[in-house]
């Protein structure tokens, strides 16, 4: 009986540790014209009031898209207002992803992040809209 109880306690403890470790955001989305598959990742659950650490990965025909020009903006559809800051997104050779800097949310709820892929080739220009939940 005691052994079972101990196992149960240890299981719950390790599960909660694992949950904390995997408390990250990962959202996949296909671009509007279906040119790109994108993946937005954030280091932890998004929260209002502080700068967030997020990055984007782009794929075209299953190959990673590197060092192209990407713009970011966003807002809160339900409240009809934009982001409180002007974040920027730049390709990072070191991290091999598009790093988003200066991203902040002013209130909890559903926010929309819009990425414009401004590829040199007009045929490869496209947009991605990703909805995220902010605590």
């Amino acid at each position: 009986m005691n052994k079972h109880l101990l196992f149960l306690v240890l299981f719950c403890f390790s599960s909660s540790l694992l949950a904390n470790q995997t408390n990250t955001i990962e959202i996949k989305k296909v671009s509007q014209r279906t040119i790109y598959n994108s993946k937005l990742e954030c280091g932890k659950v998004l929260s209002a009031g502080s700068f967030q650490s997020c990055w984007l990965t782009l794929f075209h025909e299953d190959k990673p898209v590197r060092n192209t020009e990407v713009f970011i903006n966003g807002g809160m559809p339900a409240h009809q207002h934009g982001l409180p800051t002007s974040p920027r997104i730049d390709w990072s050779e070191v991290k091999n992803v598009y790093v988003i800097k200066g991203l902040k949310f002013s209130m909890p709820g559903e926010w929309s992040l819009n990425f414009k892929v401004n590829a040199e080739d007009d045929a490869l220009k496209d947009q991605i809209t990703i909805l995220v939940n902010v605590n």
Binding site: H79, G82, T85, S86, G109
Partner: protein, 395 residues
């Protein structure tokens, strides 16, 4: 036995009539408002923020009426402690009536932007702006260097804190009595006639004075209230009597999406410290945040300036400032609700005398079509409004 059962039922009914049942999610939300979750203030642009010498000097300067052109106005003339560091006036009155309501200084150092439109990005730059403003203290930066250099106590304190040599009487004799870039024409001309080195020396003294005042202001904090006691002791299984039943109903409404109050009035300050259009701007006359963003980026005393102690990468708010004027038209900083019973009149221009008028404004704004503000649809009964105000007065 039947009698005991009957009495028990009555007791349970009385208990439930006098206690709100809070869910774990509501409790977590309420506890985010507690003063206990407030971090220590930080400002990388002011390395003297926690310097005790600077705090003491700032305290004296904050109350010194000599920092005004008529010798009758100090920072504390408008930021009065018994009114939660406001003045209870519709519009601030310094040398003359200004165009904004005096903001509280309680926890001011926790903000990123200062003044209702966020025209400054540090507490020290805000203090200096008020000192030079013709409607407030109308004191030039040249006069400030003269005062700090000639007052024996100030001179001693200043040199001990900042290790900057102040000019002696002989050097002061070669300088104008008044001069500043924001002063009236004669004093502006006097400022323009100074050379770059002289101007830099005066600016250095001026900004150090601002940093001292900011260091003092950063120590101004609200006292814990009945609401804080309620939030700190709140749990789902213990009766909490710090707030009355109407106050608790008001709190539940405050955190609900029915009112939407806590969307912007969040965290221990009950402010998300950013800018929203709630329909209080006056098109063509007072457009709020949109009017100051460009000057803020070029401000001589901003976080990226040579008078700031911050490294460029530490100026996150300024580096990523929202400059979308269309989005920012009519937007003002979300006011803190802390000590709200003492900080009226309300809004950036003090247009509302009481909280009932404030809530009625939100309701009326939410019903306008098309809706051009950040105010969401709002449907509050008269009783809801009374409960909400009961709660707000506990903050």
């Amino acid at each position: 036995m039947k009698k005991i059962f009957f009495l028990l039922l009555i007791f349970i009914n009385i208990q439930s009539a006098h206690a709100q049942n809070w869910t774990e999610a509501e409790i977590r939300k309420i506890q985010t408002f507690s003063l206990n979750s407030l971090p220590s203030p930080e400002d990388p642009s002011n390395k003297y923020l926690n310097d005790q010498g600077a705090i003491n000097l700032g305290n004296t300067l904050f109350n010194d009426k000599r920092l005004s052109s008529n010798g009758n106005v100090s920072c504390s003339s408008c930021h009065i402690e018994k009114y939660a560091f406001t003045d209870n006036k519709k519009l601030a009155i310094g040398l003359r009536e200004g165009f904004r309501n005096t903001s509280t200084l309680l926890n001011a150092a926790q903000h990123h932007w200062f003044f209702a439109d966020g025209a400054k990005d540090s507490l020290w730059a805000q203090a200096l702006s008020s000192i030079e403003n013709p409607a407030e203290q109308n004191f030039t930066r040249m006069e400030m260097m003269r005062l700090i250099s000639t007052d024996k106590n100030y001179r001693k304190q200043y040199q001990q804190i900042f290790f900057q040599k102040l000019p002696d009487q002989l050097q002061l004799n070669s300088l104008p009595s008044k001069a500043g870039p924001n002063a009236k024409l004669n004093d502006l001309i006097a400022w323009k006639k100074l050379n770059k080195v002289q101007r830099h020396q005066i600016n250095r003294v001026f900004t150090n004075v601002g940093k001292s005042i900011a260091a003092f202001v950063s120590t101004i904090k609200p006292k814990s209230t009945r609401f804080d006691s309620f939030a700190d002791e709140l749990s789902s299984d213990v009766k909490n009597t710090h707030l009355s039943e109407p106050e608790q109903r008001g709190l539940r409404l405050f955190i609900s999406q029915k009112s939407g109050c806590a969307n912007c009035h969040s965290g221990p300050l009950l402010s998300n410290k950013t800018f929203h259009n709630i329909g209080t701007g006056i098109p063509g006359k007072d457009n709020g945040r949109s009017e100051v963003v460009e000057s803020l980026v070029r401000d001589e005393f901003n976080c990226l300036s040579s008078y700031s102690d911050a490294k460029s990468k530490q100026c996150l708010e300024l580096n990523y400032i929202n400059r979308d004027k269309h989005q920012l038209t009519g937007a003002y900083k979300t006011s803190t609700l802390r000590s709200i019973s003492k900080t009226g009149p309300y809004m950036h221009d003090g247009r509302f005398d009481n909280l009932s008028e404030v809530i009625k404004h939100y309701i009326s704004e939410s019903k306008k079509t098309p809706r051009n503000t950040d105010v969401s649809p709002l449907n509050l009964s008269e009783k809801d409004q009374v409960d909400l105000i009961s709660f707000l007065l506990t903050l």
